[in-house]
């Protein structure tokens, strides 16, 4: 009965359900403060998940996101630390704050495009290319940072991750805006249609006179850009830059995308649901912490809930049919 209801509602239903249950179980759960925390905790996964959605939509995958975040964050930090002591007069702010951020974005996008070129042009399977990049970018991060944790940054650099606008954390706003933009691109632009078509039937797209390779290349660039943004956010949130940053992000992001209902084989999906996917995992983790469930049991419960969630989401489809 409840099943059927949840089933029809799909991922939304499961979100509501778990929120309801947790509110009952823990008095601390349904507080503005706590909900803000959750949104903060999932923001970075969401941002990376958005880029990942583009990639998976085309039938690809990007395992290198975590390492690219690490590479971007240390590049940004090292450059900042190198420039900060110098004096650039009125350009000070521009050179010391804006430039490093731009470099983070450039680094991320560049690494992503390398993935893209190798996958789209050299036809290296996405899994291998991004696995290789995962290793290379991580090594790069260690080398650039000389294995050191770099820390304490001025407000300008940390604003995205740590700042607030009218009391609302900037990071939450940013992640929602990014989801919005992505949804618009995929839903309303011609490029968006090409992304869907690429995943749905590459040959058809090509024979329709579209440069499929270029589209494929671009989605990895987008994923890399998302990593660049995420690295800026992470630097703000932690106020440190570490070469070990972002380990395991790939699984979190991919999970968010697929829990959100995007097919791993490409061609279908909604970027907005990626946000829900990330939220679901975040809410469960948060709830289990509030309930002080033993870490061991937490692992079991989280695993079970992720599976159950996707299972119910499938029920919905059959319920519709």
């Amino acid at each position: 009965m409840l099943n059927r209801l949840v089933a029809r509602a799909g991922i939304y239903g499961i979100l509501i359900a778990s929120i309801a249950v947790l509110s009952v179980l823990s008095p601390h759960f349904l507080t503005v403060n706590n909900l803000t925390n959750i949104l903060l905790q999932v923001a970075i996964t969401t941002i990376i998940g958005v880029g990942m959605t583009f990639v998976i939509m085309t039938g690809g995958i990007d395992l290198s996101v975590g390492s690219i975040v690490a590479l971007s964050i240390v590049v940004m930090a090292v450059v900042h630390k190198a420039l900060a002591p110098m004096d650039f007069g009125i350009f000070q702010w521009l050179v010391v704050i804006v430039l490093p951020m731009l470099l983070a974005l450039v680094t991320g996008t560049a690494a992503g495009l390398v993935n893209g070129v190798m996958v789209a042009k050299a036809r290296v399977p996405a899994f291998i290319m991004t696995l290789g990049m995962m290793s290379m970018a991580r090594g790069g991060a260690y080398i650039v940072s000389d294995n050191q944790t770099i820390s304490v940054f001025p407000d300008g650099l940390t604003f995205l991750g740590d700042g607030r606008v009218f009391g609302v954390p900037m990071l939450i706003i940013a992640s929602l805006v990014i989801v919005g933009i992505a949804a618009w691109v995929l839903g309303s632009t011609i490029y968006g249609r090409f992304v869907y078509a690429l995943g749905g039937n590459r040959v058809a797209l090509r024979l329709s006179g579209v440069n499929a390779a270029r589209v494929e290349m671009s989605v990895y660039g987008i994923s890399g850009l998302a990593c660049g943004i995420a690295s800026i956010a992470l630097l703000g949130r932690l106020n440190v830059a570490q070469p070990v940053a972002g380990m395991g992000y790939e699984l979190d992001a991919i999970a968010a995308v697929i829990i959100g209902g995007t097919s791993i084989f490409g061609g279908e999906g909604k970027v907005a649901n990626t946000l829900l996917g990330a939220l679901l995992v975040g809410i469960i983790r948060n709830g289990l912490n509030l309930l002080n469930v033993s870490p061991n049991v937490q692992l079991v419960v989280i695993g079970a809930i992720i599976v159950a969630a996707v299972f119910y989401d499938k029920l919905k489809d059959s319920a519709r049919a």
């Binding site: 309303s188 632009t189 011609i190 490029y191 968006g192 249609r193 869907y196 078509a197 995943g199 749905g200 039937n201 040959v203 058809a204 797209l205 090509r206 024979l207 329709s208 006179g209 579209v210 440069n211 061609g267 279908e268």
Partner: protein, 500 residues
């Protein structure tokens, strides 16, 4: 010398490993003319049009348009030259909607990079109306029947309003009524000066629509005829390379009341209360328009689609068929109308595919007996004249018609006692088609019972002993004594009229 208007190809050629698919090929597409291209399966027709549509980055020879030499190495280039193509293998994105598919590649734009959804819907609806088909714009292509998808394919080519329109077997899987609509539009466009390349294996269509006919064999041009000269026999002779006798076989009469399979009150998937009995050794034809429900009915009988109500009995015993496995175990086989999506594993070899449904019979215990597998496949290759340098070639590299032959072979190999053929000769050349008809009859004579679903009425009338017509999910009536059944009679039933 005066430049020829339209598109001219000179010494076009293309090779694939082990095959000279196209060789020294000259062809002319004149404005306002329908130029039919005929040839046996594997003759090189699709290869030729693939070149014109930019599907190949490399080819030999020249192409001229209005006297200007051009090179067509990408689909985009072909499009720029206003050449539109309906490919033999459906080129749609299953997960996307009808509207999205129709516009894929040149969506109506709004301020640069956004899709103008209003305009897109309007244009798509217009073209569908022109074709006189009722398919919801938001339906996902994967939920369409093969025939409906084919109509979308046609619509997709029409929105481009190209100056040269290439159709590779557009009617292979659509009903006569849709074909008529298509021809009406072709004539319309002809009048406006569009030039056509038209490929088909249905000779009666040629007579109807062709202005010029070019016949090819083994990648080479055999000859060019005017519509007048192009009599069926002449064409077939040129295609095959030798005179071919009368194709239609003598009528057979099934003098038995021994029921092999009986279906009663079957409903579900849009099929309503379908009942029919299939005699042993009988060939039962099913006629119907697009979406009449024939495929869905057969898929239910075969256990591939869930059944809402109704019973099935085999050899008089009521049976439960809840999966294709159950059906096959009862000796029922089903050849799908969608060879690519439901029939073949394209990456795998030809003999591999032929054996797939009969492995236990071709194995010693759990181990597949390669020799027996080979032998079996070799037999079918000869009988169905599957054109390929080797049986270990990936099936995906075969020409469309030869792929179809492989699926047919796969089901012949199973030796099922009840065989359901859904559009069995889709895309198969006249000669092979006759061959398959003969095979079907031979099987029936040996006591197998066979159902043939076909949107090609003459074919049905040729091969069946009895024809059932379906319309909007219901069986609307039956025409006995196949050979002298009048087309009009069946048509009437297909359109929904019932008779006692």
């Amino acid at each position: 010398m005066p430049v020829e208007p339209g598109l001219v190809t000179r010494k076009l050629g293309k090779s694939f490993p082990g095959v000279r698919a196209l060789d020294d090929f000259d062809f002319v597409i004149r404005p306002g003319e329908v130029h039919c291209l005929l040839g046996e399966n594997g003759a090189g027709k699709s290869t030729f049009i693939n070149i014109l549509s930019g599907a190949f980055a490399e080819y030999e020879g020249e192409i001229e348009i209005d006297g200007q030499p051009v090179t067509i190495t990408t689909p985009a280039r072909a499009k720029a030259l206003k050449i539109a193509t309906i490919h033999q293998e459906q080129c749609l994105v299953p997960a996307m909607t009808v509207e999205e598919n129709i516009h894929l590649g040149d969506e109506p734009r709004r301020n640069g990079f956004m899709v103008d959804k209003k305009a897109a819907r309007k244009a798509a609806q217009e073209v569908l109306d022109r074709l006189g088909v009722k398919i919801p714009l938001d339906a996902r292509v994967r939920n369409l029947s093969t025939a409906e998808a084919q109509m979308v394919e046609i619509a997709k080519a029409l929105v481009l309003d190209a100056r040269i329109l290439i159709l590779d077997e557009p009617t292979a899987s659509i009903s006569d009524r849709d074909t008529a609509e298509l021809f009406r539009i072709i004539r319309e466009l002809k009048a406006r000066g569009t030039g056509f390349v038209y490929i088909s294996h249905r000779l009666q269509e040629i007579a109807e629509i062709a202005d010029t006919v070019t016949v090819m064999r083994d990648g080479r041009k055999v000859g060019e005829l005017t519509a007048e000269e192009a009599s069926a026999d002449r064409i077939v002779e040129m295609m095959v390379g030798r005179p071919v006798g009368e194709l239609s076989a003598p009528p057979r009469n099934v003098e038995t009341d021994d029921i092999a399979m009986a279906v009663s009150g079957l409903s579900g998937n849009g099929v309503i209360d379908a009942s029919f009995a299939l005699k042993r050794g009988e060939i039962l034809g099913f006629a119907g328009l697009v979406g009449a429900g024939r495929t869905d009915l057969m898929k239910m009988v075969f256990g591939a689609l869930p059944v809402a109500a109704g019973t099935i009995s085999v050899d008089g015993k009521d049976v439960v068929i809840d999966s294709p496995r159950a059906a096959v175990r009862l000796g029922i086989g089903y050849l799908s109308e969608d060879r690519k999506g439901e029939g073949l594993v394209l990456k795998q070899a030809i003999d591999w595919n032929i054996a797939l449904a009969s492995l236990p019979a071709l194995s010693n215990g759990p181990v597949v007996d390669r020799k027996r597998e080979r032998a079996a496949a070799e037999g079918h290759r000869k009988r169905l004249s599957i054109a390929t340098p080797s049986l270990s070639k990936p099936t995906g590299q075969l020409s469309g018609g030869n792929q179809q032959k492989v699926v047919v072979a796969k089901w012949l190999e199973t030796g099922c006692r009840v065989l359901i053929f859904d559009e069995p000769t889709r895309g198969i050349d006249v000669n092979a088609r006759a061959e398959i008809h003969t095979l079907i009859r031979a099987l029936a004579d040996k006591g197998s019972s066979i159902i043939v679903v076909s949107s090609d009425l003459p074919e049905l009338i040729q091969v069946s002993d009895r024809i059932l017509a379906m319309s909007e999910g219901r069986i609307t009536g039956e025409v006995a004594v196949a050979r002298n059944a009048r087309q009009a009679e069946v048509m009437e039933l297909m359109l929904g009229g019932t008779r006692a």
